[in-house]
């Protein structure tokens, strides 16, 4: 079960219903870690000063807003906290609208709204009333120091909240030249009829279950195959040529003998021998294991 990420209350008119928000979606991306190809070690990010390349400790890092190139106003976390929009823990429904009036472009993230144990009844009441009226509640609330616009709607007996982007956050498509140029295009009736026929022939009822992430499945398949048949360290036994397989100790013998002989030729501690021996040894040590 996902964990609640916000708790507070939905209010409309005089009614106040304590609720919790749970993520409605669990993303299933395949995530990769970055590794050093030479050692297999994980890649680590360091925050360094642009001035001298030295690492900067976390406690020394502050926020700055760039005014003009290179000129900054610094802003403290406490100053930002005092600006928090309305820090009250309330999803205040300001109006009810028709679902079809909201363009899907505005939807951002979806959350399930769960009732508090003590307030199951008012929650159920609001849900059913909204279902019957076919309306969607529009509200604003504050989560993680940001004020969100959101739509609250009933779905299968529960409430779903979708955060929305603000109108001024949506880019104007007319700023995209290729889209603006569409105004100059003329279409004939014949062309349009053909296109309509094509659309009609491909029309279906939407069933989301018929779609799955085929790319993700391919990536996972690739990973599984590589993991099972690693060629770097172990070849699967059936791929091995019986003739080539020799006893490990026999394979080691020559190498161990050679290493010991090298030490006798250049005993550790003899300064001139050290110089000769250490150099190639270090060079060799950098190759992959």
């Amino acid at each position: 079960m996902p964990r609640a990420i916000w708790s507070g209350a939905i209010s409309f008119g005089l009614v106040n219903i304590p609720i919790k928000l749970y993520p409605a979606v669990s993303r299933k991306n395949v995530s990769f870690n970055q590794l050093d190809s030479r050692t297999g070690a994980r890649i680590k990010y360091k925050k360094v000063s642009a001035a001298d390349g030295e690492e900067v400790p976390a406690e020394a890092i502050i926020k700055g807003y760039e005014l003009s190139s290179g000129a900054y106003v610094t802003v403290g976390d406490d100053e930002l906290a005092s600006l928090d929009p309305d820090a009250s823990r309330t999803i205040e429904i300001e109006e009810f609208v028709d679902l079809a009036d909201i363009d899907p472009l505005f939807y951002d993230s979806a959350y399930f709204v769960a009732p508090d144990k003590a307030t199951v009844k008012p929650y159920a009441l609001l849900t059913q009333a909204m279902e019957e009226s076919g309306k969607v509640g529009i509200a604003r609330f504050v989560m993680r120091s940001k004020q969100y616009l959101c739509a609250v709607r009933p779905k299968d007996g529960a409430l779903v909240l979708s955060t929305m982007v603000y109108a001024d956050e949506v880019n104007d498509p007319k700023e995209i030249g290729e889209i603006a140029d569409l105004e100059d295009v003329t279409l004939t009736k014949k062309e349009l009829d053909m296109a309509r026929q094509l659309i009609a022939s491909l029309s279906e009822d939407f069933d989301v279950d018929r779609f799955e992430d085929t790319y993700r499945n391919q990536v996972l398949g690739l990973i599984e195959r590589k993991a099972a048949g690693d060629t770097e360290i172990i070849a699967p036994p059936e791929a091995m040529n019986e003739d080539k397989v020799i006893d490990l100790m026999a394979a080691l013998e020559a190498s161990v003998k050679e290493a010991k002989a090298a030490r006798t030729r250049h005993p550790a501690g003899a300064p001139e021998a050290e110089e000769e021996a250490a150099e190639p040894a270090k060079k060799r040590a950098r190759k992959s294991a």
Binding site: M240, M249, A285
Partner: protein
């Protein structure tokens, strides 16, 4: 040298770069490391084979970067098993089970110079089979001071509860004392007990002992690391090589040797010497697996 398919212990595996020097100061090669682990296996396997192992790998030798590998690599051969053990955020992950000569050869070929093991067996990770005192010498102290503290701990354990303990070098700078239990205990119990003993020693020998991990508390003192008795911690396993300038190994030692070390005799063993000692004395750490003892009940004032 090209990769080679080899057979060991009825298993086939691929070894690579056998002539690669992983200890540049002494010219000790990967072939010698694999050779050591194969030869030490009969003594080592009973101590590590049934535990979830953390590997510390040094792909570019002891002077290069290293990484701890808790999660057993997914590219392991199918005959290398795993034990579920503590992972991040309360989850579990599969740790390598190094339970055969071939498995040790495999990990050695991955330049896993160091093998670290938890106090509990893989089948019952909540029950430590032994309790450890990891003696870590602070600046300006060394094995001699560790040996003095080891003798003190031995005496306290004996007087207090008639407990036997065994000593091994860490293979690095310090010494480790193991109290065999082999009876039901919890990690918390072992941890509390070890802390209590550490604090007693600190009280009586505050000049040379500390029970506090803080680095500033350590100069001139031996840190008795009691916190190794935690379910998510591992300690350098007996007979593991260490990534030091020389190929030294964690070596079980007799109390006579600890006595001598307390008077200044060096107590360091490199791989070939460890193999000779096993030939001569057998596994000096065997009692850790068999002796059954019980720690005093939790809450008892030491």
């Amino acid at each position: 040298m090209p990769d080679r398919f080899v057979e060991v212990d009825g298993r086939q595996l691929k070894v690579s770069n056998l002539d690669k020097v992983l200890y540049p100061e002494t010219g000790f090669t990967k072939a010698e490391i694999i050779d050591y682990y194969v030869r030490v296996a009969p003594a080592m396997l009973p101590h590590i084979g049934d535990r979830g192992i953390t590997l510390r790998r040094y792909p570019n030798g002891v002077d290069g970067t290293s990484f701890f590998e808790k999660r057993c690599p997914s590219h392991r051969p199918d005959w290398i098993g795993t034990f579920a053990g503590p992972g991040d955020r309360n989850g579990t992950i599969g740790y390598c089970a190094l339970d055969s000569v071939a498995a040790l050869a495999w990990s050695a070929n991955m330049a896993a110079l160091e093998i670290h093991a938890p106090m509990a067996r893989g089948v019952d990770i909540e029950s430590p089979t032994m309790c450890v005192f990891d003696l870590d010498p602070g600046p300006r102290t060394g094995i001699q001071e560790c040996a003095e503290v080891a003798l003190d701990i031995r005496d306290v354990l004996d007087r207090l509860a008639g407990l036997t303990c065994l000593a091994k070098t860490s293979g690095s700078k310090g010494l480790q004392l193991y109290v065999p239990l082999n009876t039901p205990h919890t990690h918390e119990h072992c941890s509390e007990f070890a802390l209590a003993v550490a604090q007693v020693l600190e009280k009586h020998h505050g000049q040379r002992v500390t029970s506090v991990m803080k680095k500033t508390a350590r100069p001139g003192k031996v840190f008795i690391d009691w916190s190794q008795n935690s379910r998510h911690k591992t300690t350098a396993a007996v007979y593991t090589l260490r990534a030091r300038p020389h190929p030294t190994a964690s070596t079980p030692v007799t109390w006579d040797e600890v006595d001598a070390a307390a008077s200044g005799t060096p107590l360091v063993f490199e791989a070939p010497a460890v193999l000779e000692r096993i030939e001569e004395h057998g596994d000096l750490f065997a009692d850790v697996l068999t002796v059954t003892q019980e720690l005093p009940s939790p809450g008892v004032t030491v």
